[in-house]
């Protein structure tokens, strides 16, 4: 079957280099939903918005623009699976399309490597495409499920950089502009047969961004720990995210929290694509869930 929707698949760093199961799941699950993800050859780090944006915004614009030009050359819109990447790739695309001065500055640099930013493509997060009725939509996600995750209580961590700052976003769906109490991801979780669970301070940051995880890890972990306390109170079986960097912070972070604060949660943390993969019948081996720092076993026993 010819896929209806084709995108250049922008990978970023943490999905392919730390959670390859999320990358594999994104490709396989999207295919079942009518989306073909095509390799974006030669892409680099987005680059990390917190690190590069803090050092020199001009470098951030130019480096992100190089990734955008690679997709422009393929004449394809970009799909990606990380909020941090969305911040760099979507936002720089948007800024360069609307600020002539910025675009000219970036093209001056790109000229030295025979590239030019034209502003001819759009950028989307996979989660956004899955919620979009015109592309996939919740019903179609539900129809693709062969192994419903019945009985699992799953909480959502939305992360920051997909939806915020909302005044700079232009989602056509108003649900994605609700940054105080959104529920569109919960709809996507419910579509898998699981029970979405609300918890205190759902929209709080994971604490890792802006270079803080590298600058002051105890500070960054303390923010994640606050969320883990709230998640534990809500008695959830797993946390799902749409950002591999948040996933790293909550997954590997739990090991570091145990070392530094002496508390243990054993809360499995899965990217939504990994969850969707399980619900579509992929095995834990197909998803390399053994690479996760926190064992997914108790959760898997519940849903498999």
């Amino acid at each position: 079957m010819e896929a209806k929707h084709k995108y250049a698949f922008y990978l970023g760093c943490i999905a392919p280099n730390r959670y390859p199961g999320a990358e594999a799941a994104a490709i396989k699950t999207s295919k079942k939903l009518g989306i073909e993800l095509v390799e974006l050859k030669g892409a680099s780090c987005c680059p990390a918005p917190g690190a590069f944006g803090s050092i020199d915004l001009n470098v951030w614009y130019a480096m992100a623009a190089r990734n955008l030009v690679l997709a422009e050359q393929m004449k394809m819109d970009i799909a990606l699976l990380c909020n941090g990447c969305y911040k760099s790739i979507w936002e720089v695309n948007h800024k360069l399309k609307h600020h002539d001065e910025l675009r000219d500055g970036v093209n001056e640099v790109l000229k030295t490597i025979d590239m030019e930013f034209k502003g001819s493509i759009n950028v989307y997060h996979l989660a956004e495409l899955m919620y979009d009725k015109d592309i996939v939509g919740v019903d179609k996600v539900r129809d693709s499920v062969t192994n419903p995750l019945t009985g699992a209580r799953i909480a959502v961590h939305y992360g920051c950089h997909l939806m915020k700052p909302k005044k700079e976003r232009d989602f056509k769906d108003q649900d994605l502009l609700n940054t105080e109490a959104p529920t569109w991801m919960e709809e996507l979780v419910a579509a898998l047969g699981a029970t979405p669970v609300e918890y205190r301070q759902k929209m709080q940051c994971c604490g890792a961004g802006g270079g803080v995880r590298g600058y002051d890890i105890v500070h960054a972990l303390d923010i994640a720990n606050e969320k883990l306390i709230n998640l534990q109170d809500a008695k959830v079986d797993a946390l799902t995210d749409i950002c591999p960097f948040c996933q790293l912070q909550f997954d590997r972070g739990q090991i570091e929290i145990e070392e530094k604060f002496g508390v243990k949660y054993n809360l499995p943390v899965l990217h939504y694509c990994e969850l969707l993969g399980l619900a579509q019948g992929m095995s834990p081996q197909d998803l390399a869930l053994d690479l996760h720092a926190i064992s997914c076993e108790p959760f898997l026993q519940k849903v498999l």
Binding site: P16, A24, C45, P47, G50, A51, M63, M203, C205, L291
Partner: protein, 193 residues
């Protein structure tokens, strides 16, 4: 409108001293921050919604409201040398909630850009630059992950600059254009020997 006595001369005289800069204040700092951040910190009326929304505030002395005030008053050195400048996780909650439509997060980013011009920067930021200069990735692949990828039926390296290394010189050219790698190497060497 009826002519008010002394208008506009009296008003102008009153407003003449509205910028009350101290010896340590630099009005050009305010201008630089506004230009880089593309937002309007001078519109801040210090309500504190930003600090109230900030996940870093409850666990540190970092107060975004204070940083915005420093920008408005032109207190460059006080702002740029405060280690709290680096505790913003860039979650953009303050930006979402600011009733004056300012983007305080971008004000912080602009100040960090200006701090870097004075070599004020935590080393971890520069190490990300060094990693990208060599590999194209801020978080590069490793052997454990390569083995896992192969087990999944994928190539050991993703189809990024890891596989297509011919793209790396282009990335290096961009970073060199801004002398970023040279500055990163110099500062890391100064700090770590």
């Amino acid at each position: 409108m009826a002519k008010i006595k002394g208008y506009p001369e009296a008003l102008e005289a009153k407003l003449r001293d509205r910028y009350m800069y101290g010896d340590d204040a630099h009005p050009e700092f305010t201008d630089s921050v506004e230009k880089i951040s593309m937002t309007i910190p001078h519109m801040c009326y210090q309500c504190g919604t930003c600090t109230a929304s900030c996940p870093s505030a409850p666990r540190s002395s970092y107060r975004i409201r204070k940083f915005v005030r420093r920008v408005v008053l032109g207190l460059e050195t006080e702002a740029l040398t405060d280690p709290d400048l680096w505790l913003c996780t860039t979650c953009y909650s303050c930006t979402d909630r600011c009733p004056r439509d300012i983007a305080p997060t971008d004000v912080i980013m602009a100040m960090r850009n200006l701090a870097f011009k004075r070599d004020i920067i935590p080393v971890n930021f520069l190490k990300t630059v060094q990693a990208i200069y060599t590999t194209g990735h801020g978080v590069p692949n490793n052997d454990v992950n390569r083995a896992a990828r192969v087990k999944l039926g994928m190539d050991a390296d993703p189809p990024t600059t890891h596989t297509y290394k011919e793209f790396i010189p282009g990335i290096q050219k961009i970073l060199d254009y801004y002398k970023l790698k040279a500055n990163a190497d110099r500062i890391v060497k100064e700090r770590e020997g």
